[in-house]
């Protein structure tokens, strides 16, 4: 860890050549192409490697995520984008044999420090999953679960307020206010996913991770979630993994392209989708074999 920390600063990541990028030099270098780093990152990763047993899933990824930005992770299946996302709130801890090397910091605090409590981390970094997974409880209890768990509400009135606020922020309030005490599993897929978002934001996290949040939804439900992401980015930092390139293009500010466990390119979304800097990114987003 220490050794990685010391090399983190010295590693050149092709940041120095913005002009060259403008003229689209297609490079095959191992190092990540594009604008990886920002001045005041919310979350910063340096030389992150993730292993499942002996198999390395993530190779040497260094990238910053700025405050209130929406960063999209794209790439073919098995490229490590989900693994990478899950290492940001240590959901990988639950997988046996998963090992994370390198440094991941949030506001300068090492997420993998021994003294850090993963429960606290997950209260600060919420997560929304691929399949809508509300608890088989009432809508109210779903949203109130996090605040109750972390003791955020002092009274019943307080809790009611948090639930309403969270449901409003997830633009679900108007649809469910009449049936807060009915089962959350009785909602439609899109509503369930928004319920999961409401549940995640009920504990006021600083960051929200979304793992293909729309892959199980129809286009209209997807559009609603995408609109929601846009609104949420005013208050939260959002990292989203998506299979849909169009979705990344629509919602994100920056797009990161992963390939075989390597972070190939990170650039502003408008650039990635008009003139990507790397041959592999180009091949992926134009739908070619690379």
């Amino acid at each position: 860890m220490n050794q990685n920390a010391s090399t983190a600063g010295t590693k050149p990541a092709k940041e120095a050549k913005p002009e060259a990028m403008q003229t689209l030099e297609l490079t095959d270098n191992e190092a990540t192409v594009g604008q990886c780093f920002t001045d005041k990152p919310k979350m910063s990763m340096r030389n992150v490697n993730v292993f499942y047993e002996d198999k390395q899933a993530i190779h040497d990824v260094s990238v910053d995520i700025a405050k209130n930005e929406v960063i999209a992770m794209i790439g073919p299946s098995g490229c490590g984008k989900s693994t990478f996302l899950r290492s940001l709130n240590r959901m990988n801890d639950t997988v046996d044999g998963c090992r994370v090397e390198g440094k991941i910091c949030m506001d300068g605090e090492d997420l993998y420090a021994p003294k850090l409590d993963v429960v606290e981390l997950r209260a600060r970094v919420g997560m929304v999953f691929q399949k809508p997974n509300p608890f088989p409880k009432s809508i109210y209890d779903n949203v109130a679960y996090g605040p109750k768990l972390h003791g955020l509400a002092d009274s019943r009135v307080d809790l009611d307020e948090i639930v309403e606020k969270s449901l409003r922020k997830a633009s679900l309030w108007d649809e469910v206010k009449e049936r807060l005490h009915q089962a959350g599993t009785g909602l439609s897929g899109g509503q369930q996913q928004r319920l999961c978002i409401a549940r995640a934001i009920a504990v006021s996290p600083e960051m929200i991770l979304m793992d293909e949040p729309c892959s199980a939804l129809d286009p209209i439900a997807t559009a609603k979630i995408e609109e929601l992401i846009e609104e949420l980015s005013e208050n939260f930092t959002i990292a989203i993994v998506t299979h849909s390139m169009q979705q990344a293009a629509r919602v994100s500010h920056r797009t990161a392209y992963f390939h075989l466990g390597r972070l190939i390119e990170v650039n502003p979304t408008e650039q990635v989708f008009t003139m990507p800097a790397h041959r592999l990114t180009e091949a992926y987003i134009t739908g070619r074999f690379g």
Partner: protein, 426 residues
Amino acid sequence: MSKSVDNLEKIRKSLSRRNRAEKRFRFYGVTAVLIGLAAVMLLFTDIVSKGHGAFRIAYLQLDITYDQDLIGIDNLTDPQQLALGNWQAMPKVSLRNQFPDVSGRKDKRSLYGLVSNGAGFDLKDRLLENPLLLGDSETLWVLADDDIDTYYKSWLDGEPYDARLTAKQVAWIHELHDQGKIRLQFNSNLFTRGDSREPEQAGIRGAVMGSLLTLILTLLLSFPIGVSAAIYLEEFAPKNAWTDFIEVNINNLAAVPSIIFGLLGLAIFINFFHVPRSVPIVGGLVLTLMTLPTIIITSRAAIKSVPPSIREAALGMGASKYQMVLHHVLPLALPGMLTGAIIGMAQALGESAPLLMIGMVAFIVDIPGGFSDPATVLPVQIFLWADSPERAFIEKTSAAIMVLLSFLIIMNTSAVWLRKRLERRW
């Protein structure tokens, strides 16, 4: 064009073949189910046809005089007098009055053989309940002897069985029958008494109580232990060679013949810990050992069937592993666990082999009142009765089997009902 027509022809041909295969397959399935059903029906009819008689038993109408001198008591509160009293004299005298012509020791003995050996004690209990009857007399229905009962029932059914009766006894029975002084009535003894050497006095109360006490102990021990073990193995234990080893062993335990558990209980609980023999405590402990693997395996299956997405959701919200299990996994897995527990209990209820090893096969007349009273259990009682020479025990055995089966059916039905009731959809 012609090729596609060809193909269509081939498809049609294969289609009829496939349809035939399907029909055949369905026929096999239906046949298998029918055979199974027929076997069950056969078993049930056999048991019911053999056992229904046990629910009714022959009584004789006698004029009983509670004669102080005859019995040899003057104080109903003196336990010594009560213990030494000649209670059986009352029905004997009554019978002699009924048939005054009988003389000679042999004939008299066969006359006395008409009533149950326990009839006098039944009269004693009646007298103790109503002390004012002392010195008085009344007409009563008194329990007949099992041979009389057997003969009377078989005679009523048209196939008299008189091998164990003398010709005179048969004649007396017919005389009594003609006078309306012998009849069949509901055999409440079956449900209110413990075991006895005399079939007409034997009941299953003791065995039912023994089973109940044993099962309560088994449930109290095996459910918490089994569920905790399942939760630990499924949620907390690291996946390594050790847990694999444990898992294999648990699966093996479920397949170990139950008598081995009996030997184990004998060696450990009785010989090493010196727990008394024949008591529900040791029975419960042995049955706990036997049902634990079943409960652990079904509980693990129930835990596994909780979708991982729910776990992820809980962990993602910042729940600790313990909270995740307590708030989400356990409530969702509980129906499955309960079903497993009930099925395990049903298995334990029907078990006899291991209990034979730990002395619960003893002949116990008293109805057990606690976990440390000697007791036997229903299946063992069935085993004992089936082994008894008296013909009247045949129908008693079947009756006990019917009771056991109805308990099992109730338990399995409640397992299904519980699962339906508690199951949540997601």
